[in-house]
Symmetry: C2
Subunit: 204 residues, 2 copies
DNA sequence: TGACATTCATACCGGTTGGTAGGTATAACA
DNA sequence: TGTTATACCTACCAACCGGTATGAATGTCA
Protein backbone atom coordinates (compact mmCIF):
# COMPACT_ATOMS: atom_id res chain seq x y z
CA UNK A 1 0.00 0.00 0.00
CA UNK A 2 2.70 2.44 0.90
CA UNK A 3 4.53 1.63 -2.33
CA UNK A 4 1.34 2.26 -4.29
CA UNK A 5 0.99 5.63 -2.66
CA UNK A 6 4.60 6.46 -3.45
CA UNK A 7 4.12 5.49 -7.08
CA UNK A 8 1.06 7.62 -7.35
CA UNK A 9 2.99 10.56 -5.99
CA UNK A 10 5.79 9.96 -8.49
CA UNK A 11 3.32 9.55 -11.29
CA UNK A 12 1.57 12.80 -10.51
CA UNK A 13 4.94 14.49 -10.04
CA UNK A 14 6.07 13.66 -13.58
CA UNK A 15 2.79 14.83 -14.98
CA UNK A 16 3.04 18.01 -12.96
CA UNK A 17 6.59 18.65 -14.09
CA UNK A 18 5.48 18.42 -17.71
CA UNK A 19 2.46 20.61 -17.05
CA UNK A 20 4.45 23.38 -15.40
CA UNK A 21 7.19 23.32 -18.01
CA UNK A 22 4.47 23.51 -20.67
CA UNK A 23 2.91 26.47 -18.88
CA UNK A 24 6.23 28.33 -18.88
CA UNK A 25 6.94 27.59 -22.52
CA UNK A 26 3.43 28.55 -23.62
CA UNK A 27 3.56 31.71 -21.54
CA UNK A 28 6.82 32.69 -23.18
CA UNK A 29 6.11 31.69 -26.80
CA UNK A 30 2.37 31.16 -27.17
CA UNK A 31 0.78 27.81 -27.83
CA UNK A 32 1.67 27.56 -31.49
CA UNK A 33 5.16 28.82 -30.82
CA UNK A 34 5.67 26.44 -27.93
CA UNK A 35 7.98 23.60 -28.87
CA UNK A 36 7.51 20.17 -27.34
CA UNK A 37 11.23 19.58 -27.76
CA UNK A 38 12.00 22.69 -25.71
CA UNK A 39 9.50 21.71 -23.03
CA UNK A 40 11.26 18.35 -22.79
CA UNK A 41 14.78 19.73 -22.80
CA UNK A 42 13.88 22.23 -20.07
CA UNK A 43 13.09 19.21 -17.88
CA UNK A 44 14.64 15.76 -17.86
CA UNK A 45 11.48 14.23 -19.21
CA UNK A 46 11.45 12.37 -22.52
CA UNK A 47 8.97 12.46 -25.33
CA UNK A 48 7.74 9.00 -24.39
CA UNK A 49 6.76 10.25 -20.95
CA UNK A 50 5.02 13.29 -22.36
CA UNK A 51 2.95 11.26 -24.79
CA UNK A 52 2.20 8.79 -22.04
CA UNK A 53 0.34 11.48 -20.07
CA UNK A 54 -0.96 13.67 -22.89
CA UNK A 55 -2.23 12.23 -26.16
CA UNK A 56 -1.52 15.38 -28.20
CA UNK A 57 -0.02 18.83 -27.87
CA UNK A 58 -3.54 20.22 -27.89
CA UNK A 59 -4.59 18.16 -24.87
CA UNK A 60 -1.49 19.33 -23.05
CA UNK A 61 -2.53 22.90 -23.73
CA UNK A 62 -6.06 22.22 -22.50
CA UNK A 63 -4.66 20.80 -19.27
CA UNK A 64 -2.61 23.95 -18.74
CA UNK A 65 -5.79 26.04 -18.93
CA UNK A 66 -7.90 23.71 -16.80
CA UNK A 67 -5.38 22.91 -14.12
CA UNK A 68 -3.04 25.90 -13.91
CA UNK A 69 -4.60 29.08 -15.31
CA UNK A 70 -8.04 28.44 -13.88
CA UNK A 71 -6.59 27.85 -10.43
CA UNK A 72 -4.43 30.95 -10.66
CA UNK A 73 -7.30 33.30 -11.46
CA UNK A 74 -9.42 31.72 -8.76
CA UNK A 75 -6.85 32.18 -6.02
CA UNK A 76 -5.52 35.55 -7.06
CA UNK A 77 -8.61 37.41 -8.26
CA UNK A 78 -11.83 35.68 -7.25
CA UNK A 79 -11.37 34.17 -3.82
CA UNK A 80 -10.15 37.30 -1.98
CA UNK A 81 -12.92 39.37 -3.54
CA UNK A 82 -15.69 37.03 -2.39
CA UNK A 83 -14.42 37.06 1.17
CA UNK A 84 -14.63 40.83 1.53
CA UNK A 85 -17.55 42.96 2.68
CA UNK A 86 -16.64 45.97 0.54
CA UNK A 87 -15.72 44.81 -2.99
CA UNK A 88 -14.28 48.16 -4.06
CA UNK A 89 -11.76 48.36 -1.25
CA UNK A 90 -10.97 44.68 -1.71
CA UNK A 91 -10.43 45.12 -5.44
CA UNK A 92 -8.13 48.08 -4.89
CA UNK A 93 -6.11 45.94 -2.52
CA UNK A 94 -5.89 43.09 -5.00
CA UNK A 95 -4.83 45.40 -7.82
CA UNK A 96 -2.19 47.07 -5.70
CA UNK A 97 -0.90 43.73 -4.45
CA UNK A 98 -0.73 42.40 -8.00
CA UNK A 99 1.08 45.56 -9.03
CA UNK A 100 3.62 45.10 -6.26
CA UNK A 101 4.25 41.42 -6.87
CA UNK A 102 4.55 41.56 -10.64
CA UNK A 103 8.03 41.47 -12.15
CA UNK A 104 9.29 43.04 -15.35
CA UNK A 105 9.49 39.56 -16.82
CA UNK A 106 5.84 38.91 -15.99
CA UNK A 107 4.91 42.18 -17.68
CA UNK A 108 6.89 41.20 -20.74
CA UNK A 109 5.08 37.85 -21.01
CA UNK A 110 1.65 39.32 -20.25
CA UNK A 111 -1.40 37.66 -18.78
CA UNK A 112 -1.21 34.00 -19.77
CA UNK A 113 -4.98 33.71 -19.93
CA UNK A 114 -5.33 36.68 -22.26
CA UNK A 115 -2.42 35.45 -24.36
CA UNK A 116 -4.15 32.13 -24.99
CA UNK A 117 -7.48 33.80 -25.58
CA UNK A 118 -6.11 36.12 -28.23
CA UNK A 119 -4.02 33.48 -29.93
CA UNK A 120 -6.24 30.44 -29.86
CA UNK A 121 -9.88 31.53 -29.62
CA UNK A 122 -10.34 31.86 -33.39
CA UNK A 123 -8.40 28.70 -34.14
CA UNK A 124 -9.59 26.07 -31.72
CA UNK A 125 -12.93 25.71 -30.03
CA UNK A 126 -11.51 23.53 -27.26
CA UNK A 127 -9.21 26.31 -26.14
CA UNK A 128 -11.84 28.96 -26.58
CA UNK A 129 -14.48 27.27 -24.46
CA UNK A 130 -12.01 26.45 -21.69
CA UNK A 131 -10.68 30.00 -21.56
CA UNK A 132 -14.23 31.29 -21.72
CA UNK A 133 -15.11 29.18 -18.68
CA UNK A 134 -12.33 30.86 -16.71
CA UNK A 135 -13.45 34.32 -17.82
CA UNK A 136 -17.05 33.52 -16.98
CA UNK A 137 -16.09 32.39 -13.49
CA UNK A 138 -14.09 35.58 -13.04
CA UNK A 139 -16.94 37.83 -14.17
CA UNK A 140 -19.49 35.91 -12.11
CA UNK A 141 -17.27 36.30 -9.06
CA UNK A 142 -17.09 40.06 -9.57
CA UNK A 143 -20.84 40.25 -10.12
CA UNK A 144 -21.50 38.35 -6.92
CA UNK A 145 -19.11 40.51 -4.93
CA UNK A 146 -20.64 43.74 -6.26
CA UNK A 147 -24.18 42.54 -5.64
CA UNK A 148 -23.22 41.82 -2.07
CA UNK A 149 -21.57 45.23 -1.97
CA UNK A 150 -24.82 46.82 -3.10
CA UNK A 151 -26.74 45.01 -0.35
CA UNK A 152 -24.20 46.11 2.22
CA UNK A 153 -24.36 49.70 1.07
CA UNK A 154 -20.84 49.94 -0.32
CA UNK A 155 -21.76 50.05 -4.00
CA UNK A 156 -24.20 52.38 -5.75
CA UNK A 157 -27.48 50.67 -6.60
CA UNK A 158 -27.39 52.46 -9.98
CA UNK A 159 -24.62 50.30 -11.36
CA UNK A 160 -25.37 47.32 -13.56
CA UNK A 161 -23.14 44.67 -12.00
CA UNK A 162 -23.04 42.58 -15.18
CA UNK A 163 -21.72 45.44 -17.31
CA UNK A 164 -19.35 46.53 -14.60
CA UNK A 165 -17.87 43.06 -14.22
CA UNK A 166 -17.21 42.88 -17.96
CA UNK A 167 -15.73 46.37 -17.99
CA UNK A 168 -13.40 45.60 -15.09
CA UNK A 169 -12.06 42.41 -16.63
CA UNK A 170 -11.72 44.12 -20.01
CA UNK A 171 -9.82 47.08 -18.63
CA UNK A 172 -7.55 44.87 -16.51
CA UNK A 173 -6.66 42.73 -19.50
CA UNK A 174 -6.33 45.76 -21.75
CA UNK A 175 -4.11 47.43 -19.20
CA UNK A 176 -1.86 44.37 -18.99
CA UNK A 177 -1.78 44.23 -22.75
CA UNK A 178 -0.65 47.82 -23.15
CA UNK A 179 1.98 47.45 -20.42
CA UNK A 180 3.23 44.27 -22.06
CA UNK A 181 3.76 46.01 -25.36
CA UNK A 182 5.23 49.10 -23.73
CA UNK A 183 7.38 46.80 -21.57
CA UNK A 184 6.74 49.27 -18.83
CA UNK A 185 5.64 48.86 -15.26
CA UNK A 186 4.90 52.58 -15.28
CA UNK A 187 2.19 52.11 -17.90
CA UNK A 188 0.79 49.29 -15.79
CA UNK A 189 0.56 51.29 -12.59
CA UNK A 190 -0.69 54.39 -14.39
CA UNK A 191 -3.43 52.37 -16.02
CA UNK A 192 -4.11 50.58 -12.73
CA UNK A 193 -4.71 53.93 -11.07
CA UNK A 194 -7.29 54.82 -13.70
CA UNK A 195 -9.06 51.54 -13.00
CA UNK A 196 -9.04 52.32 -9.29
CA UNK A 197 -10.57 55.73 -10.06
CA UNK A 198 -13.23 53.99 -12.09
CA UNK A 199 -13.94 51.61 -9.20
CA UNK A 200 -14.27 54.54 -6.79
CA UNK A 201 -16.85 56.10 -9.11
CA UNK A 202 -19.08 53.08 -8.39
CA UNK A 203 -19.40 53.76 -4.66
CA UNK A 204 -22.77 54.24 -3.01
CA UNK B 1 7.20 57.43 -70.04
CA UNK B 2 3.73 56.00 -70.09
CA UNK B 3 5.20 52.51 -69.95
CA UNK B 4 7.35 53.53 -67.00
CA UNK B 5 4.29 54.80 -65.21
CA UNK B 6 2.46 51.58 -65.98
CA UNK B 7 5.33 49.49 -64.69
CA UNK B 8 5.49 51.46 -61.50
CA UNK B 9 1.80 50.90 -61.01
CA UNK B 10 2.23 47.20 -61.66
CA UNK B 11 5.18 47.05 -59.32
CA UNK B 12 3.33 48.69 -56.50
CA UNK B 13 0.28 46.55 -57.26
CA UNK B 14 2.19 43.29 -56.80
CA UNK B 15 3.73 44.55 -53.60
CA UNK B 16 0.32 45.66 -52.39
CA UNK B 17 -1.28 42.33 -53.25
CA UNK B 18 1.34 40.55 -51.17
CA UNK B 19 0.95 43.03 -48.33
CA UNK B 20 -2.81 42.68 -48.14
CA UNK B 21 -2.73 38.91 -48.39
CA UNK B 22 -0.13 38.91 -45.61
CA UNK B 23 -2.36 41.14 -43.52
CA UNK B 24 -5.27 38.71 -43.91
CA UNK B 25 -3.17 35.66 -43.12
CA UNK B 26 -1.55 37.28 -40.10
CA UNK B 27 -4.90 38.53 -38.86
CA UNK B 28 -6.32 35.03 -39.09
CA UNK B 29 -3.37 32.98 -37.77
CA UNK B 30 -0.99 35.36 -36.04
CA UNK B 31 2.48 36.17 -37.32
CA UNK B 32 4.14 32.95 -36.26
CA UNK B 33 1.20 30.92 -37.49
CA UNK B 34 1.09 32.75 -40.80
CA UNK B 35 2.46 30.61 -43.61
CA UNK B 36 4.23 32.21 -46.54
CA UNK B 37 3.04 29.35 -48.72
CA UNK B 38 -0.56 30.11 -47.83
CA UNK B 39 -0.08 33.81 -48.47
CA UNK B 40 1.26 32.92 -51.90
CA UNK B 41 -1.41 30.37 -52.75
CA UNK B 42 -4.15 32.81 -51.74
CA UNK B 43 -2.84 35.07 -54.49
CA UNK B 44 -1.19 34.15 -57.77
CA UNK B 45 2.13 35.48 -56.63
CA UNK B 46 5.18 33.25 -56.41
CA UNK B 47 7.84 33.00 -53.76
CA UNK B 48 10.31 34.69 -56.04
CA UNK B 49 8.10 37.77 -56.24
CA UNK B 50 7.60 37.83 -52.49
CA UNK B 51 11.30 37.66 -51.74
CA UNK B 52 11.91 40.27 -54.41
CA UNK B 53 9.92 42.83 -52.43
CA UNK B 54 10.54 41.64 -48.87
CA UNK B 55 13.88 40.27 -47.72
CA UNK B 56 12.43 38.18 -44.87
CA UNK B 57 9.12 37.16 -43.33
CA UNK B 58 9.90 39.54 -40.48
CA UNK B 59 10.23 42.53 -42.80
CA UNK B 60 6.94 41.59 -44.43
CA UNK B 61 5.34 41.65 -40.99
CA UNK B 62 6.89 45.02 -40.22
CA UNK B 63 5.49 46.42 -43.45
CA UNK B 64 2.01 45.21 -42.50
CA UNK B 65 2.23 47.20 -39.26
CA UNK B 66 3.76 50.30 -40.83
CA UNK B 67 1.65 50.49 -43.95
CA UNK B 68 -1.68 48.87 -43.10
CA UNK B 69 -2.37 48.81 -39.37
CA UNK B 70 -0.98 52.26 -38.69
CA UNK B 71 -3.09 53.74 -41.44
CA UNK B 72 -6.19 51.94 -40.25
CA UNK B 73 -5.97 53.26 -36.68
CA UNK B 74 -5.23 56.73 -37.96
CA UNK B 75 -8.27 56.90 -40.22
CA UNK B 76 -10.71 55.05 -38.02
CA UNK B 77 -9.85 56.27 -34.51
CA UNK B 78 -7.58 59.31 -34.53
CA UNK B 79 -8.55 61.54 -37.44
CA UNK B 80 -12.30 61.85 -36.68
CA UNK B 81 -11.52 62.56 -33.02
CA UNK B 82 -9.13 65.40 -33.78
CA UNK B 83 -11.65 67.11 -36.04
CA UNK B 84 -14.35 67.33 -33.40
CA UNK B 85 -14.97 70.09 -30.87
CA UNK B 86 -16.38 67.79 -28.19
CA UNK B 87 -14.20 64.66 -27.89
CA UNK B 88 -16.68 62.73 -25.73
CA UNK B 89 -19.52 63.01 -28.19
CA UNK B 90 -17.14 62.28 -31.04
CA UNK B 91 -15.76 59.21 -29.30
CA UNK B 92 -19.23 57.87 -28.63
CA UNK B 93 -19.99 58.29 -32.31
CA UNK B 94 -16.82 56.47 -33.34
CA UNK B 95 -17.48 53.60 -30.94
CA UNK B 96 -21.05 53.22 -32.11
CA UNK B 97 -20.01 53.38 -35.75
CA UNK B 98 -17.31 50.76 -35.17
CA UNK B 99 -19.89 48.62 -33.38
CA UNK B 100 -22.26 48.87 -36.31
CA UNK B 101 -19.69 48.18 -39.00
CA UNK B 102 -17.97 45.24 -37.34
CA UNK B 103 -18.83 41.75 -38.52
CA UNK B 104 -18.88 38.50 -36.59
CA UNK B 105 -15.78 37.47 -38.52
CA UNK B 106 -13.98 40.63 -37.46
CA UNK B 107 -14.89 39.91 -33.85
CA UNK B 108 -13.58 36.38 -34.18
CA UNK B 109 -10.23 37.60 -35.49
CA UNK B 110 -9.95 40.45 -33.01
CA UNK B 111 -8.06 43.72 -33.28
CA UNK B 112 -5.08 43.03 -35.55
CA UNK B 113 -2.95 45.56 -33.71
CA UNK B 114 -3.61 44.01 -30.33
CA UNK B 115 -3.08 40.52 -31.76
CA UNK B 116 0.38 41.43 -32.95
CA UNK B 117 1.19 43.26 -29.75
CA UNK B 118 0.30 40.30 -27.57
CA UNK B 119 2.00 37.75 -29.78
CA UNK B 120 5.17 39.50 -30.83
CA UNK B 121 6.06 42.16 -28.25
CA UNK B 122 8.05 39.76 -26.05
CA UNK B 123 9.67 38.03 -28.99
CA UNK B 124 10.82 40.71 -31.37
CA UNK B 125 11.83 44.26 -30.67
CA UNK B 126 11.17 45.36 -34.24
CA UNK B 127 7.52 44.43 -33.96
CA UNK B 128 7.22 45.82 -30.47
CA UNK B 129 8.57 49.24 -31.29
CA UNK B 130 6.48 49.53 -34.44
CA UNK B 131 3.29 48.54 -32.65
CA UNK B 132 4.23 50.84 -29.80
CA UNK B 133 4.54 53.72 -32.25
CA UNK B 134 0.96 53.12 -33.39
CA UNK B 135 -0.31 52.93 -29.82
CA UNK B 136 1.59 56.08 -28.90
CA UNK B 137 0.07 57.96 -31.82
CA UNK B 138 -3.36 56.74 -30.77
CA UNK B 139 -2.91 57.81 -27.15
CA UNK B 140 -1.40 61.15 -28.15
CA UNK B 141 -4.37 61.77 -30.42
CA UNK B 142 -6.78 61.10 -27.57
CA UNK B 143 -4.77 63.31 -25.23
CA UNK B 144 -4.80 66.14 -27.73
CA UNK B 145 -8.53 65.82 -28.32
CA UNK B 146 -9.30 65.78 -24.59
CA UNK B 147 -7.05 68.76 -23.89
CA UNK B 148 -8.91 70.68 -26.56
CA UNK B 149 -12.13 69.43 -24.99
CA UNK B 150 -11.03 70.83 -21.64
CA UNK B 151 -10.26 74.20 -23.20
CA UNK B 152 -13.63 74.24 -24.92
CA UNK B 153 -15.43 73.35 -21.70
CA UNK B 154 -16.62 69.90 -22.75
CA UNK B 155 -14.32 67.89 -20.50
CA UNK B 156 -13.81 68.23 -16.76
CA UNK B 157 -10.56 69.95 -15.87
CA UNK B 158 -10.07 67.39 -13.10
CA UNK B 159 -9.22 64.57 -15.47
CA UNK B 160 -5.64 63.64 -16.21
CA UNK B 161 -5.70 63.36 -19.99
CA UNK B 162 -2.65 61.09 -20.09
CA UNK B 163 -4.16 58.53 -17.73
CA UNK B 164 -7.51 58.77 -19.44
CA UNK B 165 -6.03 58.18 -22.88
CA UNK B 166 -4.29 55.05 -21.64
CA UNK B 167 -7.42 53.84 -19.89
CA UNK B 168 -9.56 54.33 -22.99
CA UNK B 169 -7.20 52.44 -25.27
CA UNK B 170 -6.79 49.71 -22.68
CA UNK B 171 -10.52 49.24 -22.17
CA UNK B 172 -11.21 49.29 -25.91
CA UNK B 173 -8.61 46.63 -26.56
CA UNK B 174 -9.69 44.63 -23.52
CA UNK B 175 -13.28 44.86 -24.66
CA UNK B 176 -12.39 43.59 -28.13
CA UNK B 177 -10.37 40.81 -26.55
CA UNK B 178 -13.21 39.60 -24.38
CA UNK B 179 -15.67 39.74 -27.27
CA UNK B 180 -13.23 37.85 -29.46
CA UNK B 181 -12.96 35.03 -26.98
CA UNK B 182 -16.69 35.03 -26.26
CA UNK B 183 -17.28 35.19 -30.04
CA UNK B 184 -20.12 37.48 -29.19
CA UNK B 185 -21.16 40.85 -30.55
CA UNK B 186 -23.37 41.14 -27.48
CA UNK B 187 -20.33 41.17 -25.20
CA UNK B 188 -18.79 43.80 -27.44
CA UNK B 189 -21.75 46.17 -27.35
CA UNK B 190 -22.31 45.60 -23.64
CA UNK B 191 -18.72 46.43 -22.92
CA UNK B 192 -18.86 49.33 -25.35
CA UNK B 193 -21.75 50.78 -23.38
CA UNK B 194 -19.70 50.66 -20.19
CA UNK B 195 -16.92 52.54 -21.94
CA UNK B 196 -19.41 55.16 -23.09
CA UNK B 197 -20.63 55.49 -19.48
CA UNK B 198 -17.04 55.96 -18.43
CA UNK B 199 -16.54 58.65 -21.08
CA UNK B 200 -19.67 60.47 -19.89
CA UNK B 201 -18.26 60.54 -16.37
CA UNK B 202 -15.44 62.72 -17.70
CA UNK B 203 -17.70 65.60 -18.76
CA UNK B 204 -17.25 69.10 -17.42
C1' DT C 1 20.93 46.60 -81.43
C1' DG C 2 23.40 45.17 -77.42
C1' DA C 3 24.32 45.69 -72.27
C1' DC C 4 22.19 45.91 -68.08
C1' DA C 5 18.62 46.00 -64.35
C1' DT C 6 14.15 44.72 -62.84
C1' DT C 7 10.64 41.40 -62.00
C1' DC C 8 9.54 37.65 -61.32
C1' DA C 9 9.24 31.86 -61.67
C1' DT C 10 10.81 27.16 -60.32
C1' DA C 11 13.21 23.86 -58.00
C1' DC C 12 15.44 22.87 -54.19
C1' DC C 13 17.55 22.95 -49.24
C1' DG C 14 18.54 22.19 -44.23
C1' DG C 15 16.13 22.44 -40.04
C1' DT C 16 12.29 21.85 -37.06
C1' DT C 17 7.82 20.27 -36.09
C1' DG C 18 4.28 17.11 -33.85
C1' DG C 19 3.71 12.48 -33.65
C1' DT C 20 4.72 7.19 -33.67
C1' DA C 21 6.74 2.44 -33.42
C1' DG C 22 8.91 -0.71 -30.74
C1' DG C 23 11.39 -1.98 -26.93
C1' DT C 24 12.51 -1.98 -21.74
C1' DA C 25 12.45 -1.62 -16.77
C1' DT C 26 9.57 -1.85 -12.91
C1' DA C 27 5.80 -2.88 -10.06
C1' DA C 28 1.14 -5.27 -9.10
C1' DC C 29 -1.13 -9.28 -8.88
C1' DA C 30 -2.59 -14.23 -9.40
C1' DT D 1 7.09 -17.49 -10.10
C1' DG D 2 4.79 -16.22 -14.30
C1' DT D 3 1.55 -12.70 -16.28
C1' DT D 4 0.11 -8.34 -17.13
C1' DA D 5 -0.11 -3.31 -16.91
C1' DT D 6 2.23 0.94 -16.13
C1' DA D 7 5.69 4.16 -17.06
C1' DC D 8 8.67 5.36 -19.55
C1' DC D 9 12.93 5.64 -23.40
C1' DT D 10 15.08 5.83 -28.10
C1' DA D 11 15.04 6.22 -32.78
C1' DC D 12 12.70 7.49 -36.37
C1' DC D 13 9.22 9.71 -39.74
C1' DA D 14 6.60 12.58 -43.11
C1' DA D 15 5.18 17.26 -43.47
C1' DC D 16 6.06 21.78 -43.41
C1' DC D 17 8.81 25.74 -42.52
C1' DG D 18 11.47 30.02 -44.12
C1' DG D 19 14.87 30.88 -47.23
C1' DT D 20 18.01 30.48 -51.54
C1' DA D 21 20.14 29.57 -56.13
C1' DT D 22 19.42 29.77 -60.79
C1' DG D 23 17.45 31.37 -64.70
C1' DA D 24 13.97 33.37 -67.77
C1' DA D 25 11.31 37.04 -69.41
C1' DT D 26 10.71 41.91 -69.83
C1' DG D 27 11.76 46.58 -69.97
C1' DT D 28 15.49 50.62 -69.97
C1' DC D 29 18.70 53.02 -71.97
C1' DA D 30 23.18 54.13 -74.44
Amino acid sequence: MSSTARDTVQQLATRQVILEAAYEEIHAHGFQGASLSKILSSTNVTKGALYHYFPTKLELGYAVVDEILSEHIQQMWIHPLLEAEDPITAFKKIIMQAGNEITEDDIQCGCPLNNLAQEMAPKDEGFRSRVEAVYRAWRKGIEKAFLKGQENGFVSKDVNVVSVATMIVASLEGCMGLAKNAQSKKVLTQCGRSIVDYLESLRA
